[in-house]
């Protein structure tokens, strides 16, 4: 047996039981799901009726638990399930959630918290103030170790094929830390400027805010930070890494995939050389993307990020075989030759002068050999973005008429809608369901095209309806230039004899590691994926670099941690957490007017201002809470202490007995809308008031939320969510009368002039010294009004009108005005406990608390032999009663273990 007892929950009951059993000599495993032990008691200001400081009486127990030789504490962990075994013991599955902080190394210095760029509601302060994603729960936390609240990947990061942590740079930009934002991007991809202009930004499509009032301008933010950085740093700040590992890697192709892999490998100390067939590096960035979208000086600056590391790029060097590279001493090869071979239509006249493929056309334009199109007619064939680009380029080159023929309808066009619209705005004519069947020329020169109309037929393999030619619709149209944009093929043919390929011409690779059939050769980018977007190629470059490094270190690639099983947060969870999101208008895109942009190759898209960007980044909902900006890692004085690659750790333990001390839930005030909580600012909960009064209070006084005024006329609404059928809880919560009276006494100390009225049904001051405490409050001048409050409404100046039945006096419905209303919320069962055991073995009572099957003589005994319940998990209790109950559970658990006869 691993432990004598498993105790689930380290609130006051769980701690008490752990100490009792530990002191008896039993080995205890105490599991707490929060980052600190202490439960809800440590959140309180003072406790009734002694007015002891809750912290002061919690901390010694907490410290005892932490240092007890017989108690093993496991925080930020959950018990996933407990199975009873035949011999009377139990097997439990415990999972430790990743804190992303190595608790052994963390000194609790709090520097990560200061550096963190994400703020969320602070649970410790009942949501009154914010805390950071990297945080230590509260000053007295045990263990006092930082925790990074990271719920997974934000959708923007998850959707990025390049693996760029968009949320991270957004939160850094939001904090005005532009250079850090840029540098974070540089960890993930060096081609920042190019992505900022030419990425299709799948992140923006996945942005949670997009489903509310419009996406965060993620690419615009990137554009801003890259412009900002490049303006201040015309050249990279860094040079060749000092530590070189002496290994050499060859990269074939200087496109986004090759550049990225070279960059990442060079940073790791490899000597990398890129071989590029074209006269200039950049691949598609250079030749495929028109400069009105991606100015070529930006590409140059991006490539400088790679070459500054000492990466050599040899242009005009075609590689047609891997073998010689090996002979030249390269330890590994990354093949990223791209997909620049055009597909042909296979129709008559395709070889005429004046019929070009789109890559050829764009390349000529991009290297300054643009054809003279002044007054000419240009026909582009195809429906993808690669058709739109040449069409828009042709407009800029002065063509009189530019038309795009596409064989399907608009709905089937693979090009982005905004691209199509942009082209149309500039005067491109779209001819849908139409396609050339023959090109007619004279003396080898194109003069006209014969076109035919199509009709959509049955869906084909790809699910798209296949076009069927319409006989008789043939027509011959004069045309000066035809650009075929009907697809590209991966440039793998030279290597087909050395490496295995797929039927479609792509290279066969292990999709996780990008290993090819030759162990020394890795391949990625369009040669593997077929024609894709830049971000995809960059992602492949990163993936290749990671695994080439592993390979060259002699590591087992099957153990790769490149794709960590970290979940992506659900949008609905984010929206639920945010509760209400006020509308904030998205930043409008800024583009040149069509008339203006047709005349030149100047950038269509205009940059946002700093103000627009800060506003735009400020709209981010922080989906995963932690943005992965790594500000904490940079701030942490201990190396390797914060690690984002931690995963949940599961283990199984056998135990002799189990004590369930999972506590209670507070009543959710939203179930009582007539009291206005959430809607009316100056209606707060009892827990919030406790925080306002606590020694570790968020503000240095009691103030009301709407205007920060110190309230002078406070109302308490007792039985909020208790003794109330409409709130689905008919039970009395036992503590609310007393904590309200306690708060009233404390407020009278903090705000001596304040009037306090407590609206009640019955004052239940039943414990030792409680009624005396109640009488003391009355003597201090707290008003007690017998009457249940019906509703709370807003009056003038942020004040609240309370409607109540005045039962004790003349009766009848009355109103009173207060400047702050405190809802004395009740306790509800925490139903999590019931699911811990299989087959509903752990029985609940009528109210969904853990049932005590022999309450009269064995308080704390549950429906499962050997399983006991302690504290509020089995019913509302105050602290003294929880402690006694925990002691009872401990005594019975001890007897059960003694009887088992097996000890850990």
């Amino acid at each position: 047996m691993d432990y004598d007892v498993l105790i689930i929950g380290a609130g006051i009951a769980g701690m008490e039981a752990a100490l009792s059993l530990g002191n008896m000599g039993f080995k205890v495993l105490l599991v707490e799901k929060e980052a600190s032990i202490g439960g809800k008691m440590i959140l309180l200001s003072k406790v009734f009726p002694t007015l002891d400081c809750a912290s002061c009486i919690s901390t010694p127990k907490m410290a005892d638990v932490a240092h007890h030789p017989n108690v093993t504490l496991q925080v930020y962990s959950e018990v996933e399930g407990v199975d009873p075994l035949a011999d009377g013991s139990f097997r439990a599955k415990v999972v430790k959630k990743p804190t992303y902080v190595n608790a052994d190394l963390c000194t609790g210095c709090g520097l990560c918290e200061t550096a963190c760029t994400v703020a969320v509601a602070d649970e410790f302060n009942a949501g009154l103030v914010a805390r950071r994603a990297a945080h230590i729960p509260f000053p007295q936390a045990i263990p006092k170790k930082a925790v990074i609240d990271r719920r997974g990947f934000s959708p923007c990061h998850h959707s990025c094929p390049a693996g760029v942590r968009a949320h991270g740079y957004i939160s850094l930009v939001r904090s005005g830390r532009y250079e850090e934002a840029f540098n974070l991007h540089m960890e993930d991809a060096p081609l920042v400027g190019s992505l900022a202009r030419a990425c299709y930004a799948p992140c923006e499509e996945e942005c949670t805010r997009g489903s509310v009032d419009g996406t965060i301008p993620i690419r615009g933010i990137k554009r801003f930070m890259s412009d900002y950085y490049y303006e201040r740093h015309p050249e990279p700040e860094y040079g060749v890494p000092e530590k070189k590992n002496g290994r050499k890697v060859a990269v074939i192709g200087a496109g986004p995939a090759g550049l990225t892999a070279a960059y990442q490998l060079a940073r790791k100390g490899y000597t990398v050389k890129i071989f590029e067939e074209a006269p200039e590096a950049g691949g598609m960035l250079r030749i495929g993307i028109p400069s009105y979208r991606l100015p070529k000086d930006v590409v140059d600056r991006d490539i400088a990020n790679v070459t500054a590391l000492g990466v050599e790029i040899e242009t005009r060097h075609e590689i047609s075989s891997i073998e010689p590279l090996k002979e030249q001493g390269y330890d590994a090869v990354f093949l990223a030759a791209g997909a620049v071979e055009a597909r042909t239509m296979g129709v008559e006249g395709e070889d005429l002068e004046g019929v070009m493929d789109c890559m050829e056309f764009l390349r000529e334009v991009n290297i300054g050999r643009a054809p003279d199109l002044e007054g000419k007619t240009v026909m582009v064939v195809g429906g993808g973005n690669s058709a739109i680009d040449p069409a828009r380029v042709a407009i800029r080159l002065g063509a009189e008429k530019v038309l795009i023929q596409y064989r399907r309808s608009r709905a089937e066009m693979p090009a982005h809608s905004w691209e199509i619209e942009g082209a149309e705005e500039e005067g491109v004519e779209l001819q849908l369901l139409r396609v050339p069947v023959r090109f007619i020329g004279k003396d080898g020169k194109l003069e006209a095209a014969e076109c035919i109309s199509m009709k959509l037929g049955e869906p084909d393999e790809s699910g798209r309806r296949s076009p069927v030619p319409q006989k008789g619709s043939e027509e011959i149209v004069p045309v000066d230039l035809v650009v075929l944009a009907i697809g590209l093929k991966p440039s793998t043919s030279p290597f087909a004899h050395e490496l295995e390929t797929n039927k479609n011409g792509t290279l066969k690779v292990n999709s996780h590691t990008l290993e090819t059939s030759d162990p020394r050769v890795f391949a990625g980018g369009d040669v593997v994926t077929g024609p894709s977007m830049i971000a995809q190629a960059i992602g492949q470059g990163n993936r290749a670099a990671h695994h080439i490094d592993m390979y060259l270190r002699g590591e087992d690639l099957s153990l790769s941690r490149f794709d960590l099983p970290i979940p992506t947060v659900e949008k609905k969870d984010v929206l639920m957490r945010a509760k209400s999101i006020s509308f904030r208008k998205p930043t409008d895109k800024k583009e040149l007017e069509p008339s203006e942009r047709c005349r030149s190759f100047s950038e269509i898209e205009q940059p946002f201002t700093k103000e627009e960007i800060r506003y735009g980044a400020g709209r981010c909902l922080d989906c995963a809470v932690c943005s992965e900006c790594e500000a904490c890692i940079r701030a942490c004085p201990v190396e390797d202490c914060i690690r984002f690659d931690m995963l949940p750790e599961r283990r199984e333990v056998t135990v002799g007995s189990v004590i369930v001390a999972t506590g209670y839930d507070l009543f959710n005030v939203e179930k009582k809308p007539q009291y206005g909580s959430g809607r009316l600012k100056n209606v707060i909960t009892g827990m919030q008031m406790d925080r306002l009064l606590a020694p570790t209070r968020p503000f240095n006084t009691v103030l009301r939320p709407s205007d920060g005024k110190e309230p002078d006329n406070i109302a308490y609404v007792l039985c909020t969510g208790s003794r109330d059928q409409t709130a689905d809880n008919t039970l009395c919560s036992r503590v609310c009368c007393m904590y309200s009276i306690k708060q009233a006494q404390l407020i009278m100390g903090a705000l001596p002039l304040a009037d306090i009225t407590i609206y009640y049904i019955d004052i239940r001051a039943f414990g030792k010294g409680y009624d005396e405490f109640y009488e003391q409050a009355k003597a201090m001048g707290v008003y007690f009004v017998k009457g249940k409050v019906a509703k709370v409404e807003e009056a003038e100046d942020g004040n609240m009108t309370v409607f109540y039945e005045d039962m004790a006096n003349s009766g009848g419905l009355k109103t009173a005005t207060h400047d702050l209303v405190v809802l004395s919320v009740g306790l509800l069962p925490n139903r999590e406990a019931l699911g811990l055991f299989p087959d509903q073995m752990l029985k609940a009572d009528d109210f969904h608390y853990v049932a005590e099957v022999e309450e009269d003589i064995d308080p704390g005994r549950t429906s499962i032999a050997g399983v006991f319940v302690a504290g509020t998990a089995s019913g509302a209790r105050d602290i003294p009663d929880s402690i006694l109950h925990a002691g009872a559970a401990a005594a019975q658990a001890a007897a059960y273990i003694e009887n088992l006869g097996v000890r850990s």
Partner: protein
């Protein structure tokens, strides 16, 4: 001046101290005191993180004295002694200074003075720390046996639980039969279980358990020894008292019911009964017509809070100010029993606040559903019960009908009487347990140590500590079992070495000190020069009563020696207050 290296830590206690005492100023005020090697402030010195910092300081700075200025030593003296110990420092070189209860909380109206006082208090602590000697605690082997006093439901259940853990039990009961109050009840709340049945089951198990020895008609007449090794003298019936050795005791002596005075709410009149009388009657009624003393009972009134929640009045010598906790639920349960036996019975409940807390709320709901009517009276205008010749009339000013005065003719009035502390002077004289204002035994701290008393090794359980329901009493009893087990299963206890020490060279054998000791820890022993005083360290509590009576100044209490105290006084009184301190 000693060569000590002392670490001083001044606590904010969140804001408990720093809201009134300028902690920084205190730090500046003591930084240059002799022997202070390091001085710091902390938001919560008791937090684990600060504890770790202190340990680090002790080790790195080679400290041999430690002072923490924070809250009452009742809360954290042991916390910081343990910090010292974990850092390898003798724990008795630690000095605790209370600048919260004895400074910040009592001087909220005068912050500058509070800060100045705090400086003086801390200086005193530093001076004392400079003279603290390392001391070793005494280790006593514990006897794995417990004396349980009282065989009500709490005592019975506690005995079984102890025996289940292999701890031997002597269970003594003053009465001839075990079972206490619950044994007589037919139905108990909230589970409607038979009290007699519950007790019967427990008693059978107690008798069957070989680890439990039960004595009926037995009382504790003398107690000696100390925690871990008590000697208890027990008298059972007319037999010669005998002694048992136990490591701990659980006091589960229960409660008495409030004794209603003749005439109080018409008590003494036919048909006016107390809650226990009502309970005994209703438990024996057959279904159908309810009959009391030959008269049919068709209408009843319950008057709540009789003998509880009493305000100070001239004719009340000692009002029971407390709420008796169980009585609202018990009365509801009784009313449900009555309605179940005779659905047509009309029941009026005259209450102040219905305190059916927690799940007991269902009793209130059930009683209402079964027809009980509720009227609320104010504590200052209690109902009046009078005879109307035919039966009884209850007059009440009902707050729920706008203060209307209602007259209700009833056949029976149930005075819902509360619990009072049991008169038990003989036992109290033996145990010397502190008693609270409500007359019940007092725990050390309701949250930190709810079943422990100031007498180490003596625990309280059940209603001897305060009013409780029966299952709450059992929970408290089992909690006391946990504490006993924690104490005894370890096999030994460590006693504080802060005991009196006699300088036998100075002692003249006058024996004045013997009289002064409330624990009989001093006796005279022979030596070369005659007789001198000798302190039995396992009995000595370090109370120090012997110190001032000694005409020769021959006695010191370790940890509070004259030198140490005098040095504190000198340091506190020294002028001027260090530079930087407000004047």
């Amino acid at each position: 001046m000693s060569e000590r290296r002392i670490g001083v830590y001044i606590c904010h206690c969140g804001g408990n101290i720093s809201d009134y005492v300028d902690v920084k100023q205190v730090l500046e005020g003591i930084r240059k005191e002799p022997c202070v090697a390091i001085a710091r402030t902390a938001v919560f010195t008791c937090s684990d993180a600060t504890q770790q910092d202190i340990i680090k300081d002790i080790k790195e700075q080679n400290l041999d004295g430690l002072v923490v200025a924070s809250c009452s030593p009742k809360l954290h003296l042991h916390t910081f002694r343990s910090v010292a110990e974990r850092a390898g420092m003798n724990p008795y070189k630690y000095v605790h200074v209370n600048i919260r209860e004895q400074c910040s909380w009592v001087h909220r109206d005068d912050k500058p003075s509070a800060s100045r006082k705090a400086i003086r208090l801390v200086r005193g602590g530093i001076a004392k720390a400079g003279l603290m000697d390392p001391l070793q605690s005494f280790r006593i082997e514990t006897i794995p046996k417990v004396l349980v006093i009282g065989a009500g439901i709490a005592g019975l259940r506690a005995s079984l639980a102890l025996a289940d853990l292999g701890i031997g039990v002597y269970l003594i009961e003053k009465k001839q039969e075990p079972g206490g109050w619950v044994a007589d009840m037919k139905s108990t709340f909230p589970n409607h279980r038979s009290g007699a049945g519950l007790i019967k089951g427990l008693v059978e198990r107690v008798h069957a358990h070989e680890g439990i020895t039960f004595f009926s008609g037995a009382e504790l007449v003398e107690k000696s020894g100390s925690v871990g090794a008590f000697k208890a003298l027990i008298r059972s019936g007319d037999e010669e008292p005998f002694s048992v050795d136990v490591g701990a005791m659980i006091v589960a002596t229960g409660f008495d019911t409030y004794a209603v005075k003749e005439g109080e709410y018409g008590y003494g009149m036919e048909g006016v009964v107390t809650l226990p009388e009502f309970k005994a009657w209703i438990d024996t009624q057959p279904a159908g017509e309810l009959v009391y003393n030959g008269r049919p009972i068709k209408t009843m009134a319950y008057v709540y809070c009789v003998g509880s929640r009493q305000a100070a009045q001239p004719d009340l010598e000692k009002p029971n100010k407390y709420c008796s906790r169980f009585c609202c639920s018990a009365a509801m349960h009784g009313a449900i029993c009555a309605s179940t036996l005779q659905p047509r019975v009309r029941q009026y409940h005259l209450f102040r606040d219905v305190r059916t807390y927690g799940k007991y709320e269902t009793l209130y709901e059930d009683a209402s559903r079964l027809g009980s009517v509720f009227l609320k009276f104010d504590g200052s205008a209690p109902p009046v019960v009078e005879s109307n010749g035919n039966g009884l009339t209850v007059t009440v000013k009902d707050m729920l009908s706008a203060g209307e005065e209602l007259e209700i003719d009833v056949d029976m009035v149930v005075l819902v009487t509360g619990m009072v502390a049991r008169e038990n002077k003989a036992l109290n004289d033996v145990l010397k347990l502190p008693i609270g204002q409500d007359g019940f035994f007092n725990e050390i701290h309701p949250k930190l140590r709810p079943v422990e008393t100031v007498i180490d090794g003596v625990f309280i359980a059940g209603t001897s500590q305060g009013p409780k329901t029966s299952s709450e009493s059992v929970a408290a009893a089992l909690s006391a079992v946990s504490k006993c087990a924690a104490l005894l299963m370890k096999g030994y206890v460590e006693l504080e070495p802060l005991v009196a020490q006699v300088n036998s060279d100075r002692c003249t054998g006058c024996a004045v000190c013997i009289e002064s000791c409330p624990y009989s820890a001093i006796n005279m022993i022979a030596c070369d020069t005659g007789e001198v005083a000798y302190v039995n360290t396992s009995l000595c509590k370090g109370g120090g009563a012997c110190v001032p009576v000694c005409p020769e100044n021959a006695i010191d209490v370790l940890g509070y020696t004259d030198d140490q105290i005098e040095s504190m006084i000198d340091a506190m009184a020294a002028e001027p207050l260090a530079e930087g301190a407000a004047t």
